[in-house]
């Protein structure tokens, strides 16, 4: 098999995941797109490992070992990510990443009042988190 086929498929899947990460609004859909990108990398690792293990004299199967590690780390990442998303949804009532703008810079003309207000709100939120 030509190495170009899995390499091109992997590049296309990676860019699909890139589009999903940039364009999606729901945090769980962003996590799905991250999974797509990780799988594209896995396909690259497997294809190059099969190529090199047939052409090289001695091989460590590093590509397949790294693929297994990537799958395990992705499972851990999806668990932690979903726990964070559920915690955010429980505190804020939304999983919409466009509305989670607490650390954004405000560009209001009378910015001091709003800054003070948001600082007070974020301080309140931090206090709520601290009591937790």
């Amino acid at each position: 098999m030509h190495l170009a086929y899995p390499a091109v498929l992997s590049a296309l899947l990676f860019c699909t995941g890139l589009y999903g990460v940039l364009a999606r609004r729901n945090a769980i859909l962003v996590l799905m797109s991250v999974e797509l990108m990780l799988n594209a990398v896995n396909l690259n690792l497997v294809a190059f490992d099969v190529w090199l293990s047939k052409t090289a004299e001695e091989t460590l199967h590093s590509g397949q070992a790294l693929t297994l590690f990537t799958i395990a780390i992705a499972a851990a990442e999806i668990g932690i990510g979903l726990a964070i998303v559920l915690a955010v949804h429980r505190n804020r009532g939304t999983a919409d990443i466009d509305k989670l703008r607490d650390t954004a810079e405000r560009h209001d003309p009378d910015g001091t009042d709003h800054d003070a207000l948001t600082a007070e709100q974020s301080g309140e939120a931090q206090k709520a988190e601290a009591t937790a």
Binding site: A4, L9, T16, N26, I28, A72, L82
Partner: protein
């Protein structure tokens, strides 16, 4: 890695060239035809995953994408990776994502605001990155040939031998990482319950007032159902 690459280039330089001459793109083998067909299905399912407006359907199309990738691993003779992919990704990650969608009360029907406002910028970036990557990759590996004959490169025996001979220490470190992720997920999930219990005990908090109101006077940790009702 570079040593192995240069060694294989030195060892098989002429054979690679002859392989590229004998194996043209216009006369694909059966494995290549199967790879391209499954790859088209996989890529199409990935496109539907990132563009559909129904959130649950996105998770279900992700199943098709991950299953197609498992078939690609089988075609590349990496059978152990393929079964691990089916077990972990299709079996657990997608189920976790569906649980996440249900617990955040995602709308079942079409949601009009699934894409944010910068989707055209995202489309531009993604298409530019895809064009650049495909051009570079095709130009670099146009004549490289994977020899799929002989014993499978990714059989369970070969993968297990290399994993437990050369990669034991990262493997054990990975188990510690999984334990840390498990503990972290439990801590993150327990945080709000502890907050509700504390708020019921001492400090009045505006966010958890409905949760304490749903279980008045008990002072215990509220049940998950009542807590869900409270934060709604």
């Amino acid at each position: 890695m570079t040593l192995a690459a240069t060694a294989c280039l030195l060892a098989t330089g002429p054979t690679t060239r002859t392989a590229a001459e004998t194996h043209g793109f216009l006369s694909p083998t059966g494995v290549e035809i199967a790879f391209v067909l499954v790859g088209l299905v996989t890529f199409g399912a990935a496109l539907v995953t990132v563009t559909t407006r129904q959130l649950v359907h996105a998770a279900l199309w992700l199943v098709v994408t991950l299953g197609g990738l498992a078939v690609e691993y089988l075609l590349l003779t990496a059978e152990f990776i393929a079964w691990v992919q089916v077990l972990i990704y299709v079996g657990s990650v997608v189920v976790l994502l569906l649980f996440g969608l249900m617990l955040t009360r995602a709308p079942i029907g079409r949601s009009p605001d699934a894409d944010s406002g910068n989707r055209w910028a995202a489309l531009t970036v993604a298409v530019a990155a895809a064009a650049a990557l495909v051009w570079v990759v095709v130009d670099a590996f146009r004549t490289t040939w994977i020899d799929l004959d002989g014993p499978a490169a990714g059989s369970t025996e070969a993968t297990g031998a290399s994993l437990f001979q050369n990669w034991v220490l990262p493997f054990e470190a990975l188990s510690v990482l999984l334990l840390a992720a498990l503990v972290g997920a439990i801590v993150l999930s327990r945080k709000a319950k502890a907050a509700a219990a504390t708020a019921a005990g001492s400090t009045p908090d505006t966010r958890s007032t409905p949760a304490t109101g749903s279980t008045p006077g008990t002072g215990r940790t509220p049940a998950p159902g009542s807590e869900k009702e409270g934060t709604r």
